[in-house]
C-alpha cells in the first residue's frame, strides 16, 4: 500500500502547495455571487420554496466550486504529467492501474471537499444557512467531486493540448452547471424544459446537495444519489480500463 499512499500524498501536496490557484478562487467566486445576489439583486427576486434567494442558490454555488475543482484537479495533474512525460514515473512503477486511478480520484475528492466546505463556511458568515443533513451533505460533496475527478482523468488522458481541457469546461460543464438548477428550481420551468433538465446529470448533484442542506428537492434524493453513483462507477471503470490498455499513455 505504500506505493498507493505515496501517490495519494503527492496528489494532495500538489494542490495544497498552490492554494491561490486551487483552493481560493472558487471560494472567492462563490463569495461574489453571495454578495451580488444577497445584498445587491437578492431583494428583487422572490423567495424560492420558502427560502431567501441567496440561501436557495448557495448549495448550487457550493456544488459549482466542487465540480470545477474535482475536474480541474485530476485533469491538470494527469495532463501535465503526460505533457512533461513524468507520467513515466508511474508507468514503470509497480503501482496497479486501480491504485493510480484511485489516488488521482482521492486527490480530486479532497480538493473538492476543501473547496466545498470553505465555501460553506464563507456562506455561513454572510447568510443564515441551515444544514439539515450534514452526513448526506458530505456524501453528496464527496461523490460529486470524485465523479468529476474521475471524469477529469478521462479528459486528462484524451487531451492533446490545454485547449482541449478548456473545451470540456467551457462548453460542457459550465453550461450544464448553470442549466442544472443552481439559480432556479426546475419546477419553475415549462414542462418540456423540466423534462429536458432531468437528462442533465449535474441537476441531480445540485438537487441532492440542496436537499442535504435545505431539506427540499425537485426529485428524490435517492434518485440523485443513484445517478451520481452510477456516473462515478462508469467514469472510474472507464478510467481504469484506459490506464490498463495504455490509451494515450503507451505507444
Amino acid at each position: 500500500m505504500r506505493d498507493f499512499i505515496t501517490l495519494t500524498r503527492r496528489e494532495l501536496r500538489r494542490f495544497l502547495s498552490l492554494p491561490n490557484q486551487t483552493i481560493f478562487p472558487p471560494v472567492m467566486t462563490a463569495l461574489l455571487y453571495i454578495l451580488i445576489f444577497g445584498y445587491s439583486l437578492g431583494g428583487d427576486i422572490r423567495e424560492i420554496n420558502g427560502f431567501p434567494y441567496v440561501v436557495y442558490i448557495l448549495p448550487g454555488l457550493i456544488m459549482m466550486g466542487v465540480i470545477n475543482s474535482g475536474y480541474a484537479n485530476s485533469t491538470t495533474s494527469l495532463f501535465i504529467a503526460r505533457y512533461e512525460n513524468f507520467i513515466q514515473d508511474l508507468l514503470v512503477s509497480p503501482l496497479s492501474y486501480l491504485k493510480i486511478v484511485s489516488a488521482y480520484i482521492i486527490g480530486a475528492t479532497c480538493r473538492g471537499l476543501i473547496v466545498g466546505l470553505l465555501t460553506l463556511l464563507v456562506g455561513l458568515i454572510f447568510v443564515d444557512l441551515p444544514v439539515a443533513n450534514p452526513f448526506v451533505m458530505i456524501i453528496f460533496l464527496a461523490l460529486t467531486a470524485a465523479t468529476f475527478g474521475s471524469f477529469g482523468l478521462l479528459v486528462g488522458l484524451w487531451a492533446e493540448r490545454w485547449d482541449n481541457i478548456a473545451v470540456f469546461l467551457n462548453y460542457l460543464i459550465t453550461p450544464l452547471i448553470f442549466l442544472g438548477g443552481v439559480f432556479y428550481s426546475i419546477e419553475q420551468l415549462p414542462p418540456t424544459w423540466r423534462q429536458i433538465s432531468k437528462f442533465n446529470p449535474l441537476f441531480y448533484m445540485v438537487d441532492g446537495y440542496r436537499y442535504s442542506m435545505l431539506n427540499i428537492s425537485d426529485v428524490s434524493p435517492w434518485l440523485s444519489f443513484l445517478v451520481i453513483l452510477v456516473l462515478f462507477l462508469v467514469t472510474t471503470g472507464v478510467a481504469i480500463h484506459l490506464f490498463k490498455i495504455g490509451w494515450k499513455l503507451r505507444n
Binding site: 501517490l7 501536496r13 501535465i80 512533461e84 508507468l91 509497480p94 503501482l95 503507451r250 505507444n251
Partner: protein, 313 residues
C-alpha cells in the same frame, strides 16, 4: 549454454508502429550479473526494446519476462525488480530534487523514512547534495542525467536499464558515471545499457548485442565477439632468422609473411596463433627485438555488422 535462470528474457518480440516494424522477432536473455551493451544506429529499436520491458510501450507479439514474471500479466511483480533511466530527462516539476527521489522510492514501496535516507545517500553519491531543494528543471544537463540515474536505483533494483545514460555528457562526467556503473555491477546487479558510444560498451559490458532495423544481428560476450569477428595484425622485428627457417615458418603458418627482418602475422585468434608462433621462433633461436600489435576495435566490428559485412571466422 547458461544454466542460470534469465533475469530478463525477450521471446520472439515483434513491435510495430503503424507500418514501421521497430523490432522483428527479437529474442534476448540477460542472466544474473550480466552487463549487456545494446548497440545499434538511431532507429535500430534499442529504446523500443527497453520500453517494452518496462511498461512504456504496448507488448502485442511475443513475451518478455523479468525474473520469470511476465511483464504484461505479472506487471506489478516484474516492475518492482527494474530501475529505468530513460533517454529523456522527465521529472515531476512540482517538487524538489529530494522530493522527486523520495516519491519515486515510495512508488516502489519504500517507506518514507527509508526513501528519504536512500535519496540523501544517492544525492551525495551523485554530487547533488547542494541541489537538494532545487527544482529539477533548474538543473544542468549533467545534473539531470545524474538525477535520472539516482531515480533509477532509488529502490535498489536487481535489474538496471539505462537508455543512453551518458548522452551529451563531457568526458570527465562520463567517466564518473562509468565508475558508478562498475560499482553497480560489482554489487551483482544485472545491467542493460544502450549507447552510441562503443567504447562505453568495451569499457563496461561483458556482453554485446547489435541491433539494426529491429533485428538482432549479433549477441555474445565481448570476448567471443572479438575472437570471432576481430582481426589482429602483429609485427615482429627479429634477429637470427635464417632463410630456411623463414620459409618453414611461412609454410607452417599461413597467416605469417616475412619482410626483410620482420615477421607480419594477420589473423583472428591472437592467443592461440601467436603463442604457437612464438614457441616455434624460440625453438629456432630467433630473437625478438620488437613486437607491435594492432587489434580491430569493437567499433569496427559494429560498423561492419550493420553494413552487412564482417568476417565470421
Amino acid at each position: 549454454m547458461n544454466e542460470q535462470k534469465p533475469m530478463l528474457e525477450y521471446e520472439n518480440v515483434t513491435k510495430k508502429y503503424g507500418d514501421l516494424t521497430a523490432l522483428k522477432d527479437f529474442s534476448l536473455k540477460l542472466y544474473p550479473e550480466d552487463f549487456l551493451g545494446l548497440v545499434g544506429p538511431n532507429g535500430a529499436g534499442k529504446t523500443t526494446a527497453i520500453h517494452l520491458a518496462t511498461g512504456l510501450a504496448k507488448l502485442r507479439t511475443g513475451r518478455i519476462k523479468i525474473k520469470g514474471n511476465d511483464v504484461v500479466n505479472d506487471y506489478t511483480k516484474a516492475r518492482r525488480l527494474v530501475g529505468l533511466a530513460p533517454q529523456e530527462p522527465n521529472f515531476d516539476r512540482f517538487f524538489s530534487v529530494l522530493d522527486c527521489l523520495v516519491y519515486q522510492g515510495g512508488y516502489f514501496g519504500l517507506a518514507p523514512d527509508k526513501a528519504r535516507q536512500r535519496a540523501l545517500e544517492l544525492l551525495e553519491l551523485f554530487e547533488l547534495t547542494d541541489k537538494i531543494d532545487s527544482k529539477p528543471p533548474d538543473l544542468s544537463g549533467g545534473q539531470k542525467r545524474r538525477l535520472l540515474l539516482a531515480k533509477a536505483v532509488i529502490h535498489d533494483p536487481e535489474i538496471v536499464i539505462l537508455d543512453e545514460p551518458t548522452a551529451g555528457l563531457d568526458v570527465e562526467l562520463r567517466h564518473k558515471l562509468w565508475d558508478y556503473l562498475r560499482r553497480l555491477k560489482g554489487r551483482g546487479k544485472t545491467i542493460l545499457l544502450t549507447t552510441h558510444y562503443i567504447e562505453e560498451v568495451e569499457a563496461l559490458a561483458n556482453r554485446v548485442a547489435i541491433l539494426d532495423e529491429g533485428s538482432l544481428l549479433l549477441e555474445d560476450s565481448v570476448e567471443n565477439i572479438m575472437r570471432r569477428y576481430g582481426r589482429y595484425s602483429c609485427v615482429f622485428k627479429v634477429r637470427g632468422l635464417k632463410e630456411k627457417t623463414a620459409r618453414r615458418v611461412c609454410q607452417e603458418y599461413s597467416f605469417v609473411n616475412v619482410e626483410n627482418s620482420s615477421l607480419r602475422a594477420n589473423g583472428h585468434r591472437f592467443d592461440e596463433e601467436i603463442n604457437d608462433l612464438l614457441t616455434t621462433l624460440m625453438r629456432e633461436n630467433v630473437t625478438i627485438k620488437e613486437m607491435r600489435v594492432d587489434e580491430t576495435p569493437l567499433e569496427e566490428i559494429f560498423l561492419n555488422k550493420i553494413k552487412g559485412g564482417g568476417t565470421d571466422a
